[in-house]
Symmetry: C2
């Protein structure tokens, strides 16, 4: 038994008291993650990595179904490539790591570790594309990236993180826009259907968009404390990168043109998003579809004859369809184990004791509602399937309810300031599209325009910051 496990059932900081500490307690105590000796870098432990594997598997399937293929590009990029794209350079140069030595030799050109890969991928595309027949290119990459940030938190913001980055190339501006939106919809499905996280889809303001993009689409999720998590972005890069790296193709009309490109990413920060969307003071709640363990089987009073055998039999049977573990450790009490698996957020706990065996049943506890009830052994697989589907649905609904309760609609600037000061949640309001108003808002509230939602509502005619004519409905929030 490790020290971690001995301390396990101690209380975590209640989320109402200190949400940030609650989060840190939870990720460490549930063995999702550990701090590493490298500044801002984390170790993703098997239980945390298992969630990532679930996300990867679900998204990868969807990307392949829509014609995307995986590839792998170098981790290291020559310095000259970064400086080629000026806007992009200014965005990323302050946080890139530089490799200057190989063995004991100084490198002739410095290399930087990819913070994102446009500057290595687009130059490759320029070699691969000659004609419109070579388009579109629909490539995705699963890899690690590094951004040498000062302030970090496990999963949410780390120097190194894992992600997928898609990079596509198209023959027309319309096709690039279509791709950007198609990916946004795939991301929405991943978030809402698999992670049970409701999202608001929208466009970033010019100030908040990706360095080098024409337009950045985003999905914004609300965490349990009312703060926003940018959960994934899809960028229409226009011809910007193609122009920097000479990505030209001969079009049907025999004219050589710069191609249109897109890029889009989701990262391991989504694991943090799951924790902060669904967790409570008892610990994690894992959405069944990406839960590394969907069902845990606990034999009760397992010195009694037949109990352990029955528990293993159930595990084996359920294991054909679900991700199942059994906890037959004899150094812990049943009560300790209840707490342990609740904190781990396993969607369903099955308890099997001598009386259950007599009655040909198992006791089930749902992690989402904590309801406890008996279900018959006959038809167990089907019943578990139904329950997991119901938990998945219920978790989405609970998250949606929390979000709807914490969205406020107002065009009164004083009220906006107060709502943001008290960290109430999101505010829907109007905006004139002027960056001055955006800066003022940030200075007064430290909140940002999370997005200009795709589904616009007409909440008034004037911008609450300046009183001039409003152009968009926006969503404001404080962000992770």
């Amino acid at each position: 038994m490790s020290k971690n496990e001995q301390d396990f059932v101690k209380e975590v900081t209640p989320m109402e008291e200190d949400f940030a500490r609650w989060y840190t307690d939870i990720v460490i105590k549930t063995d999702m993650v550990d701090y590493s000796p490298v500044r801002g870098c984390m170790v993703i432990k098997p239980y945390g990595y298992g969630v990532w594997e679930g996300i990867v598997s679900e998204l990868d399937k969807r990307l392949k179904e829509t014609g995307h293929k995986n590839a792998y590009f170098p981790l290291l990029i020559p310095e000259s490539h970064l400086s080629a794209e000026k806007d992009h350079f200014e965005g990323f140069a302050p946080e890139v790591l530089w490799v200057t030595q190989g063995g004991s030799e100084e490198l002739t050109e410095r290399l930087f570790i990819r913070p994102t890969s446009e500057t290595i991928i687009l130059p490759m595309y320029s070699k691969w594309v000659q004609s419109y027949r070579d388009l579109p290119i629909l490539i995705n990459q699963w890899c690690n990236v590094v951004r040498w940030e000062k302030t970090t938190r496990p999963f949410l913001r780390t120097a190194e993180f894992l992600w997928q980055e898609g990079h596509t190339l198209h023959a027309t501006a319309d096709e690039a826009e279509e791709e950007t939106l198609k990916i946004l919809e795939i991301y929405r499905q991943l978030l809402e259907d698999e992670l049970a996280m409701p999202v608001i889809l929208g466009v970033k303001s010019d100030k908040e968009k990706f360095a080098g993009a024409d337009r950045t689409y985003t999905m914004e999720a609300m965490m349990h404390d009312g703060k926003a998590l940018q959960a994934g972005t899809s960028h229409n890069l226009g011809q910007n990168f193609a122009k920097m790296f000479d990505v030209l193709f001969l079009d049907r009309d025999s004219v050589r043109k710069h191609a249109w490109s897109t890029s889009w990413a989701i990262t391991t920060r989504l694991i943090g998003g799951i924790i902060m969307t669904h967790g409570d003071n008892r610990g994690l709640k894992m959405p069944p579809k990406v839960a590394p363990i969907q069902v845990v089987v606990l034999p009760i009073a397992f010195h009694k004859e037949g109990v352990l055998d029955k528990a293993y039999e159930i595990k084996k049977e359920l294991g054909k369809k679900f991700r199942v573990e059994i906890d037959a450790r004899d150094e812990y009490s049943a009560g300790w184990k209840f707490n342990y698996w609740e904190m781990k957020g396993v969607p369903l706990r099955l308890e099997v004791g001598p009386r259950d065996i007599e009655k040909n049943q198992v006791m089930v506890v749902r992690r989402d509602t904590l309801e406890k009830f008996a279900i018959p052994m006959d038809g167990l697989n089907e019943r578990i399937d139904e329950l997991l589907i119901d938990i998945q649905k219920n978790m989405f609904e609970m998250a949606l309810k929390n979000r709807e309760e914490k969205i406020f609609i107002t065009n009164d600037y004083d009220e906006i300031i107060n709502l943001m000061k008290e960290n109430k949640g999101f505010v829907k309001t109007m905006w004139c599209d002027d960056v001055e108003c955006e800066n003022k808002l940030k200075a007064d509230t430290s909140a940002t325009i999370r997005c200009i939602p795709l589904e616009q509502e007409d909440l008034g005619d004037t911008c609450p910051m300046c009183g001039k004519e409003a152009k968009h409905m926006i969503v404001l929030g404080k962000a992770y």
Copy 2:
């Protein structure tokens, strides 16, 4: 159509003329890989990456079935960690890349990019383990590593490559040895059953073993030209790394002991191994189990009514069970496409023309034997399944036959020198276990002791290099 594709059907260098150029021609022309602007780093294109995805999926399944879990450790390791393990440091220091700057700031401690992760993982394990109850730890990681080597070749030796690295921790020396051998057997299954590559299992000599290991097990494959490829290694690290990083546990007997550790890896070089084991002058031959495309459907004379529809119907039906593509491009002739898909090494080509539709059949061409024959449309799925199984088996047998023809048994040192000079293949002989003889052998022939096979044969009593008493049967070869 890209330039690559236009040039596609041109002859590649025949392998008998120049095997190295044949290899390079093939990997580039089949769009497996491309050179990148970073020295020694490659871009793995979708067709090459697809093979890696097949390998990952098969091995990952086997590792999970045997209780291993995936995790992720940092890419960057502080300098102090490398210098802690002296043997290991000497092995890796000449080829590590150093990160010295973050943004515009000098780092306070230099970081190196992992060439392998013992020096970051073992320090983490020292935090996680207190008692024998915490053991074993069975963790694997899929990631990129970098070794700044001077001479590189796509897949076979590149500065950056992808791999899995397993790192386990055990309470006894026996358990560590058992794990090391268990993994070797899993690797053997992967190579022989999925990649159709026969391997010789053995132990590395002390000179050739992993820096810091007690014992390195290896699997050695023979390429078509008779040279050896070290296809995967499994290291018993004894207590060496545990002592350097204070990985201690309280044992059942209440004594604090250093744990025993293992590490083991296979890499993207296996893709090169597949190419060089199975390929011929027409191009690649993909083993069906990891082929990114198992079946390609070619509509013939597809301006004729019903042909395209039928081809798509077949693709859809087969696509339920196999990885299938259709080639309905109208800018290429049927003959050009035959060459194209043969070069890509797709195991089965299906041709559907008007006459086939009349006869309710398809024409099939096997890539391994180039046999062409008709099979009825009824029961197509089952027949394709049988054919793929047969191709997989036949490819293994052909590779085995090639290897057996190129293994020579002799205890005559002059003959060994001649065989190695003429690049005939492997030599089985005896060895006294003295490093002097090993060095002499290398100086005289540039071959190395590939391994001391687990299955020993008694080929004589004396070492051909020195005439003293022989201790082991060994396999010699020139290596990639």
